[in-house]
Symmetry: C2
Subunit: 337 residues, 2 copies
DNA sequence: GTGAAAGCGCTAACAG
DNA sequence: CTGTTAGCGCTTTCAC
């Protein structure tokens, strides 16, 4: 920090008035005469006066900063959400502090600790895959620090939440595959402690049911990482009858699946169709392009930030749940030419 | 912010001693008697006392926060750098505040403004593509706020900087292509106001020279975005003789180029070889896998943070420049089977 | 060995 | 309409 910052005192001294008058003039307090106001504001402009947010925080007991905890910033979806949160928060005078849990429970706990120590006014979280214990969230509740969960919510905590309609997204994806003539659709799913994973699986089942297709236990396989796909997908393709489609819980796994299918001499989408989930940058760059579900991360971020700022204003208002509609994006991986 | 935070006063009141004694006891001041220290520390532990960083900031005139400005968080490279900065800074008691310029000059300026207003102790920046005017950097200099540039440095500002050896990386990439028998190598380059783009082009030229290959003006084409590639690459492929290799300034463009080449009925790497730059997640998911240059973003981030914290400690020390060695990662896109 | 007081920058209740 | 005062949480001189 540099010492050359102009303070209210500096202005007061120069104008030979009191600091409080300067303070009031700057915030257009009705008590202050127009001339004084003009004087003060002119000098403030000239000297590039900026209120010291640290002093304001100390005074007001509020930091005008919100914290974010996401599993990994590198994922397109989370980056988009962060952008949404940032834009909305900054437009409303809030700063943003970002932490990554790296999908580890311990880092999630320590991230929250960091944010609490920094006295953020609220925390927006998307849970790590490995989080089972939720005590750290309860502590936030106890400390009366507002929480908004987005995407990967924690069901044990009452709070504002923003999600997309994961079940609906999955339903759309699988229905699309069925309408394209697929009958033996495998679902590569996420970890069952995450609501989103359960919901996507539920949507998958709903679509199959609706079209009177058999829901086979063995067609729902936990596989949400590139490394897992490496051995799981080949083994699935050896089954008889062979799966003719994969609905994957994320784009990464889908892209990897696509490559594996091709490397085994099968063609996409002719032999095997694939649909992912996210609609990240990736999905345009595979060959063929990846059909997928758009999660509208940016919008989710804005929505989450909006809920947060509303709650900071009024912590007693009832909890809200926002559900964002996903969209099906069709590319080459699921439609025969 | 919640009211339930324990303060030094609370402890003082409970123990019927003065706040200053508590303060001293907590920092193990030699003046304080062992008994008092034990008393204070026990209660502090029991009550989960945490010093209020805002008060500390106001007092000490330092916020223990560093700011980061990157073009876009979604890029694998920048996310990695951020992780490196975060890890190093947090391990040393500093918080991190991240802003995105979205490759816009105005957003870069306003991001810096935000960070300055938040009284960060220093700013780590990677310049936006569109930044020509550098006055905002000079203002930081004038305000005596430490700056560290990483990757996309600003040549007009004296500061600590961390880069990779871009020329060397490009040289390695192009040499590799030459050794694989390529003779007509096109370079899809970045905007020439960025040092990194110039350096990569220079490495490209050096490799060609070393192998007595002709350096043709028209083989160096500014093209660093997926959308540009869409029309530029097809037009390049119509040339006679047809290019037999592309060295691309980033993985995205490379992946897109790969798809375009394939869509035109040419095969990669048989007809056209491709090498990218970054080694992001993407590069493993194209078909064939993308040969590329690893930029070691995480390491760069740690290095940048290290320079920053050193400079915050001692702003008078001479400026440092760290150059990180890139690595060539060979995948299918450049090597015939 | 410990306490009282001042001050970091700002605001707000209370006086005039 | 404007000034004085106190205080947010903490540290640090200066007393005793």
């Amino acid at each position: 920090m540099n010492k050359e910052n102009v303070t209210i005192k500096d202005i007061a001294r120069e104008l030979e008035i009191s600091p409080s008058t300067v303070s009031r003039a700057l915030k257009d307090h009705p008590d202050i005469s127009p001339e004084t106001k003009k004087l003060v504001n002119n000098l403030a402009d000239k000297w590039h006066y900026r209120p010291n947010p640290i002093a304001l925080s100390l005074k007001g007991g509020t930091s005008n900063t919100v914290g974010i905890v996401v599993p990994e910033i590198i994922h397109y979806f989370f980056s988009s959400v962060i952008s949404g949160i940032e834009d909305y928060s900054e437009a409303n005078g809030y700063n943003v502090m970002i932490c990554q849990s790296k999908e580890e429970y311990e880092k999630e706990v320590s991230s929250i600790q960091t944010l609490v120590n920094s006295r953020v006014d609220g925390i927006l979280i998307s849970m790590s895959k490995l989080t089972r214990n939720t005590e750290h969230f309860h502590q936030l509740r106890d400390k009366n620090i507002p929480i908004v969960f987005f995407d990967r919510i924690c069901e044990e905590i009452e709070s504002d939440i923003v999600v997309i309609d994961d079940a609906e997204g999955a339903y759309m994806a699988v229905k699309h595959l069925i309408l394209e003539g697929r009958k033996n659709i495998v679902h590569l799913s996420g970890p069952p402690n995450l609501r989103i994973a359960k919901d996507r699986t539920e949507g998958y089942i709903r679509a199959l049911n609706e079209f009177q297709l058999n829901v086979a236990e063995e067609n729902i396989v936990k596989c949400d990482q590139v490394e897992e796909a490496e051995w799981i997908v080949p083994s699935l393709l050896k089954r008889n009858p062979r799966p003719d489609a994969f609905f994957c819980v994320n784009d990464f796994t889908a892209a990897q699946t696509l490559n594996i299918v091709k490397s085994l001499g099968l063609s996409v989408p002719e032999d095997v169709a694939i649909v992912g989930f996210t609609n990240g940058q990736l999905s345009k760059l595979t060959d063929p392009g990846l059909s997928t579900i758009d999660q509208h991360g940016y919008e989710m971020g804005r929505e989450a930030a909006r809920l947060m700022l509303e709650r900071i204003k009024d912590n007693s208002r009832p909890f809200q749940k926002r559900v964002i509609k996903p969209d099906l994006v069709i590319r080459g991986s699921s439609v025969k030419k």
